[in-house]
């Protein structure tokens, strides 16, 4: 008899999703589906809007990472209209996106991931959540909350609102940071760096504890998509980079994205499947997000993060890493880079320079592309403007979307490991930290 295992909903997942595994009589995995069950048609209803209003609408795509959804369409419209922005605006935007990277990665690590690792995957579902972690490990909990709080407050200070920012505008930023506000963040930045280092220690210990899982479960060779700035890890500006399963790297300027990124419409998910066009579907299925970014980078942009990257590559033994559980590790390396970037930018006098907007901005007909790296992966907006600056058409390739096909492929791999090879039975799991 064919057996269907259904998980509904997948919890601690941004968005709405379910999962299905279909097993045949022979115990073989016949099908794995990752069903994304909602979509809201942003690419359609921004038609007819003023192009400069799009960055005030699209942040609602994701409340966890609204900042990339604010900055990326702004960049796309600037590209379409041929607008340059002043240097202080560029730095404010970098500060903003790194503040988001920091808080989002920490939320992910502490609230979405840590419960599994700290309590162990077999723990009571009623307890396997961040609230319980906070109750049982109050020091770690308080530290996590302090870090997220710092990131979110910095987002609010630069972006105007932490959730659904408004400060970026075609041509720059509406307002620079006030000096006294900047000073408040500067005062605690060393503290934050210390807490980040402690988080790295916790993460490395967890990775060590679970090494058997990291090294053996979900090691899936795929393509990867990310962005780099001439090979250096960058989440605000650069080119699209594709890494092949064997580690070959190819770069595409954002405007050439259609040569690289293809979309396949599945029958079982509202989130479409992305793949590397030259390799075709499904062979070209790629993964995005932290591990992909790490695989794309020749080096990190800041010293501590770059050291951490080198250490990771040494431990795993390869430059392109296919270990799904290493996503958490990659996330921590990116967190380190984010706080180092924040520290540098906070000390830069440009971020309090009110000269942060190009005054003479003129709409023109054209189509522009903007990319950034959101905390969940590459984010791309392609906006077509008419001569009055009204949006004629829009194409969106959002971060989570880049990963859907890759996740499904990974789930298939893991399902086979679980149901066919019984690979989990022999796995060494550590004693949970929280019992």
């Amino acid at each position: 008899m064919v057996k269907e295992i259904e998980v509904e909903p997948i919890t601690r997942l941004e968005g709405h999703g379910g999962m299905r595994v279909v097993l045949g009589d022979d115990g073989k995995v016949q099908d794995v589906q990752f069903n994304i069950q909602s979509t809201r048609f942003f690419e359609k209803f921004v038609e007819g809007r003023y192009c400069e209003h799009i960055p005030r609408i699209t942040p609602r795509i994701c409340g966890i990472c609204p900042i990339p959804h604010h900055l990326t369409p702004t960049k796309a419209v600037e590209d379409a209209w041929g607008v340059q922005i002043p240097e202080p605006a560029r730095k404010l935007r970098q500060l903003l996106i790194n503040a988001k990277q920091y808080s989002s990665h920490l939320i992910h690590f502490y609230a979405l991931t840590a419960p599994d690792f700290l309590l162990g995957p077999m723990a009571d579902p009623a307890l396997r959540n961040v609230v319980h972690v906070i109750n049982k490990m109050p020091d770690v909990g308080a530290m996590a909350l302090k870090m997220m709080d710092f990131g979110q407050r910095l987002c609010a200070a630069v972006g105007g609102k932490a959730v659904h920012p408004i400060a970026a505008i075609v041509g720059g930023m509406k307002k620079a940071l006030d000096e006294d506000v900047r000073d408040k963040f500067l005062k605690v930045i060393d503290d934050q760096i210390e807490m980040t280092k402690k988080t790295v220690d916790i993460a490395l210990k967890v990775i060590d504890d679970y090494w058997d899982v990291v090294a053996n479960v979900g090691v899936v060779p795929t393509y990867y998509v990310g962005m780099t700035n001439n090979g250096v890890h960058d989440i605000y500006e650069g080119d699209i980079r594709i890494v092949s399963p064997t580690g070959e790297k190819t770069d595409y300027a954002p405007q050439r994205y259609l040569e690289a990124l293809g979309e396949h419409i599945p029958e079982h998910s509202y989130a479409t499947h992305m793949y590397y066009k030259p390799a075709g579907y499904p062979e070209g299925i790629y993964r995005a997000n932290t591990l992909a970014m790490i695989n794309c980078a020749d080096k990190m942009a800041t010293p501590l993060a770059d050291e951490a990257l080198k250490a990771m590559r040494e431990k795993v033994g390869t430059n392109v890493i296919h270990h799904t559980f290493a996503y958490h590790w990659a996330r921590i390396i990116e967190t380190v880079e984010a706080i180092e970037m924040i520290a540098t930018l906070l000390k830069d006098p440009d971020i309090v320079n009110p000269d942060c907007k190009t005054l003479d901005v003129q709409p023109r007909e054209g189509n522009g592309v903007g990319i950034t790296e959101a905390p969940r992966g590459l984010l791309l907006y392609n906006i077509w403007s008419d001569a009055d600056g009204i949006c004629k058409k829009c194409n969106l390739l959002v971060a989570t979307n880049h990963n859907i096909a890759g996740i499904e492929k990974t789930l298939m791999h893991v399902a086979k490991q679980v149901f066919e090879d019984k690979a989990l039975d022999g796995l060494k799991l550590p004693d949970p930290w929280i019992k």
Partner: protein, 436 residues
Amino acid sequence: MVKVAFWQNSDCWGCHQSLVDLHLQLLPVLPALEIVYWPAVVDFKYDSLVARAPGEIVVGFIEGSLRTKQDVEGTKLMREKCQIIIAFGSCSCYGNVHGLANQWSKEELVRRKFSEVESIADGSGGEPTQHVPGFEDKIVNVDKIIKVDAYIAGCPPRSEQIFGAVGFLLGQKPFPMNDLAFCNDCSLNQSGCLLDAGKLCYGPITSIGCSLKCPNAGNPCVGCMGPAKTVSARASKLNDMTKNLASASSGDKKTSNEFLSLFLNVPLMAGFDLSADILKQVKKRGTPETPLANLPPDTVSIASNVLGFLRDNRDLIDISNVCDTCDRIIGSKSTMTKVKRDYEGLPNLEDCLIEQGYICMGPVTRAGCGALCVKVNAPCSGCYGQTEWGVNQAERFAETAIKGFNVSLSKDELLAQVKDKVGTFEKFTLASRKGG
């Protein structure tokens, strides 16, 4: 422990992020909540919600817009399982930006996303149909399909506002209450009492301890210090007046609105209107204990009067708007002579944005956020929802702007210069348009 459930329709998680942004402040509240459903955070599956008894859950928060058939089904399920339903965020209050999709048919939406987009590259396409719920033709706001007990507007609602609402539901009062009522300290107690002159002032039941800023400026007390343990002699007069709020002046209504938000620790009440008397519901059940129950009877009765009035008069005409909380100068040195687009120039930080030529939705948008956007020099785009419904919003904006601000354009001139009217004036509320 109070059983709470969070349901997410087609949304962005931002309301939850805003809740989580309370960070350390959440710690004392969490132990009082028993979270029985919250896919974002807790590992309970859908079946567990279906299995609960009707009304078993005390408070249900509904976030997100009704885009899919699953959204509609889940929302109805929540109504069945929860005693109090809160429409949480502008998606569930108004449909939010997703409602802009109502300008097209479902087929057109589906075609663009699943067939037409430029990046589809392998000949695939068409609406997915396997193990996905299907779409509603049009988005409507949640209270079109179920009864809603309370609304927390905002996209997202401010963290403090959510905290206030949750605290209120739990009957918690974070600020201390002093023994004496405000009248005792009031600079107008001996002569010039506002209440004696027939104006609503909540001093008789409010705690002492503030800097007397309001009476010193000739304004009534709106209760921001919270309740006192005793009341002053004027409490019974206040009680009588609040029984008859329908005939109160518009200023008195506004005072009462503000009073509730501050006094009941639901900060920025305009973002938290009540269509049901939560106070009474909470009291009827007996749990959780609300400290309001231990207050002087006059205080409880006055708070109930005002709550009851708000319950029956949701569309308060004199509800506060964003301008009421904005620091900019209205009647400034600037005058709107043409409508500017947001990308033009850079406004100064002092003068009202409308007077500097920009479309700022402040005067027609419910207060609650504290004019957040305007503080970083961006015009308000109306995410807390309109202050008035059932009228043409573009015309209403133009009329309001011309009447109250330095604008040298006629209504027609102003409106002719706004090409995208729906996106400008009804970005967040198109789905809940009534008439007009």
